[in-house]
């Protein structure tokens, strides 16, 4: 199970990278980033998976037996942070694209080559 999930994560990351590296439309590139980040998040979550264990919420599980009953909460906590960071970056990128579009009236990534050499 966890192998499938982690593979999915890696696959999504590759997919996202492909989008980032090959797409010409800036929005699509941002989508690539989102996919890339999602892939990372999936990988992170699956890292914390412990076979056959439950979510780390101690409503049913007694605190005393928690150690043997729950999956690793840390990656989940990290993912939470990572998602928020991803959100921030994506928002910023979108605003950038907005401004870039206004600058050249184009979303083609190759029309922004003013700075070189």
């Amino acid at each position: 199970m966890e192998y499938i999930i982690i593979s999915t994560g890696f696959a999504l990351m590759l997919l996202g990278l492909w989008g980032i590296l090959s797409q010409k439309n800036l929005i699509k590139i941002i989508l690539g980033f989102t996919i890339f980040n999602t892939g990372i998040n999936i990988v992170m979550v699956s890292i914390g998976y412990v076979r056959g264990k439950a979510a780390p919420i101690l409503d049913v599980i007694k605190p005393s037996e928690a150690a043997s009953k729950i999956v690793d909460p840390i990656p989940q906590a990290l993912v939470l942070t990572a998602i928020v960071i991803g959100l921030g970056v994506t928002a910023l990128m979108l605003v950038y694209v907005l401004k870039l579009h206004r600058e050249k009236n184009s979303l083609d990534i190759n029309s922004f080559k003013d700075l070189k050499w």
Partner: protein
């Protein structure tokens, strides 16, 4: 074309890296050392039923502060980026016509959404969820309002006040932790209470409330700012 092949080649090697990672990944049979500590002591030390929340808000509280800061930063940046040529486009806004259906539904659903949001961050220490999730839900309500009524202006002033006060509160709680308890963002500022109660887990609910408010405000702020330029004439 050559470039495509190059990219494919590069990605193939990236795949190789991932394959290495995949190989290294053997699944888990048990918790790691740190996780084990949290599982064993989390409930007693923090008093939050949701261990993830316990980690997010206390053990790794500084991360959360950073997280909040990132959202705060993003909102601030976006507002100053988009403001700097405001005069260019503000007068020429052409307002999109909204649908009756959306408008009516919004009026019904938005309060519910807000309530759900508040619920999520209030109960962050007990159930899945928390300040960020709750804040995001609140922001989605704002988004709905904007979509339903394009002329709906998010009051920057209100948002700024909410944002600032909740941010300052977060920091102050953290500092109080140094003064009154064991360190920055120490949870035991307030009594831990009984595991599973709403008023338990020390300052977690308080922090999450402020985080929820702050995140909600910041996301709304971002959405609102972007919506300003949404209908800009080309």
């Amino acid at each position: 074309m050559i470039k495509k092949i190059l990219i494919i080649g590069v990605l193939a090697v990236v795949g190789l890296i991932f394959f290495d990672l995949f190989n290294a990944y053997q699944g888990n049979e048990s918790l790691s050392k740190t996780a084990n500590y949290y599982a064993e002591n989390g409930a007693s030390q923090v008093g939050a039923a949701n261990l993830v929340t316990a980690i997010v808000v206390t053990y790794r509280g500084l991360d959360t502060l950073g997280e909040v800061t990132i959202l705060f930063l993003t909102a601030a940046i976006i507002s100053f980026i988009l403001k700097f040529r405001e005069e260019d486009f503000m007068p020429n806004r052409s307002v999109r016509v909204t649908s009756e259906l959306l408008d009516s539904a919004a009026q019904v659903i938005v309060p519910v959404i807000f309530m759900v949001g508040v619920y999520i961050f209030m109960n962050g220490h007990l159930t899945p969820g928390g300040g960020f999730q709750g804040g995001a839900v609140i922001a989605s309500g704002v988004l709905l309002m904007i979509m339903a009524n394009p002329n709906f202006g998010v009051s920057h002033k209100v948002i700024a006040v909410v944002e600032s006060i909740s941010g300052i509160a977060f920091v102050l709680i953290g500092v109080l932790g140094i003064v009154l308890a064991g360190g920055f963002l120490d949870n035991t500022l307030l009594p831990l209470g009984k595991l599973g109660d709403l008023f338990s887990a020390g300052v977690i609910p308080v922090i999450y409330t402020f985080v929820g408010l702050k995140v909600g405000a910041e996301l709304s702020n971002i959405i609102g700012t972007i919506s300003h330029v949404q209908n800009e004439k080309n």
